[in-house]
């Protein structure tokens, strides 16, 4: 083998670099995100009214698309009322509707966004709710 020594050293360095993150974390897994929906605003509601605009599974998967659509409808078309699939009506507003119930941005939004390493720029402009330490 030509240059065998160099190749073997190279392979060792490569394997070391690739496995470093796994070895460094000691095989532990990061805790699964657990967004909390126990804000005082939600707990105040009656048990059967503790529902989001749309079903939980839909909100989990599609809330980003929904927020985009809400923004276009409100800003561009001037329609502010959203009729949900269950017939209930909501004012389309991140700051004034979503965050009025989900007043725990850190434990609700950031929990998953940090886990999946997405950085939405919502809070560059929109004012986040004042967090109450519980």
């Amino acid at each position: 083998m030509y240059n065998g020594g160099k190749i073997i050293i190279g392979v060792i360095i490569f394997v070391g670099l690739v496995t470093f993150p796994f070895l460094y974390s000691g095989g532990k897994t990061t805790a699964k995100p657990d967004p909390k929906v126990d804000t005082p605003e939600i707990l105040k509601l009656a048990e059967n009214e503790r529902k989001c605009v749309e079903p939980k599974a839909y909100m989990k998967g599609e809330h980003m698309k929904m927020l985009n659509e809400w923004r276009d409808w409100v800003v561009r078309d001037g329609n502010t009322i959203y009729t949900a699939t269950n017939g209930k009506q909501y004012t389309m507003s991140l700051q004034n509707t979503c965050m009025k119930c989900h007043s725990n941005k850190k434990k609700f939004c950031d929990e998953c966004h940090n886990y999946t390493a997405v950085k939405p720029y919502c809070w560059d402009c929109h004012i986040e709710p004042k967090e109450k330490e519980s």
């Binding site: 923004r71 409808w73 409100v74 800003v75 561009r76 078309d77 001037g78 329609n79 502010t80 009322i81 959203y82 009729t83 004012t91 389309m92 700051q95 004034n96 720029y121 560059d124 402009c125 929109h126 004012i127």
Partner: protein, 262 residues
């Protein structure tokens, strides 16, 4: 399989009709489904085209101007940047006659008019030059009511609109505006802006949607008149029909919706 010309034309004609009919039926259905999902608020104020009349005879003291400006800037979280005049953010502000109405200043204009500060804002033009130049359609004229709006999410900060606007109605956020907003007076119901976007008066679209008049109109005690310019019975049309009015730089053909009476 053989087919003569007559048969071919028959089949082609029928399939065209079916195809077109099918597309329009699907479209109609889809529109109905979407339309049932969203609607304007029942309380919302509606107009074909919003307009404002500024009655300068009612602006006598410094306080009369400041009341309107403060109401606007507070409700929209407009930062108060004073260290560099180029960085200033203005939605509603005072302008001298020669700056507000260039080309009309006569040599022997009365001293009173010459030194009267005029209250100026975005003119919400019927033919807005800012909208024409925006490469991302971040600024656009709303079809429903003629408001020249900003979608901050789309603004890339190219400032073409600032160059195009002949009224200087647009301000650019050269730095993060949030530290310059008075924390105690912050309106938690309205967003702020970020560094690198252009902002201007939005004619209080968010207040109109809840059935309220614009903040400046509410604070002006009758000095600002607001209404639908295309409704002959509206307040603005009555004032415009009764008194001589003028607009800023009408020769440019932008057709502003803000009128001035003295």
């Amino acid at each position: 399989m053989s087919m003569n010309r007559r048969e071919f034309l028959k089949i082609a004609g029928i399939s065209t009709i079916l195809g077109l009919g099918g597309v329009s039926a699907v479209h109609g259905l889809r529109n109905r489904v979407e339309a049932s999902q969203i609607s304007p608020a029942p309380k919302a104020l509606k107009a074909k085209r919003w307009a404002m009349v500024v009655d300068m005879s009612k602006f006598k003291k410094e306080e009369d101007y400041q009341r309107c400006i403060d109401a606007c800037h507070q409700v929209h979280n407009v930062p108060n940047i004073t260290d560099n005049p180029k960085h200033e953010i203005k939605w509603l502000w005072k302008e001298t006659y020669e700056h507000a109405f260039p080309g009309t200043e006569d040599e022997y204009l009365s001293e009173e008019i010459k030194h009267l500060p005029f209250l100026v804002l975005c003119n919400h033009c019927d033919n807005p030059s800012c909208v024409r130049v925006c490469p991302t359609k971040a600024t656009f004229k709303r079809k429903s009511d003629g408001i020249v709006m900003m979608d901050m999410h789309r603004c890339i900060g190219c400032r073409f609109c600032m160059a195009a606007c002949p009224y200087g109605a647009r301000s650019f956020n050269y730095k993060d505006p949030i530290p310059f907003i008075n924390e105690a007076k912050k309106n938690l119901e309205f967003p702020t802006r970020t560094k690198g976007v252009v902002e201007k008066c939005t004619l209080c679209y968010e207040r109109l949607a809840t059935g309220l008049q614009p903040a400046c109109v509410e604070a002006s005690k009758g000095a600002l008149i607001f209404g639908d310019i295309e409704d002959p019975n509206s307040g603005v049309r009555k004032v415009l029909g009764a008194r001589y009015s003028f607009r800023r730089r009408p020769e440019l053909g932008t057709r502003p919706s803000v009128y001035y009476i003295i």
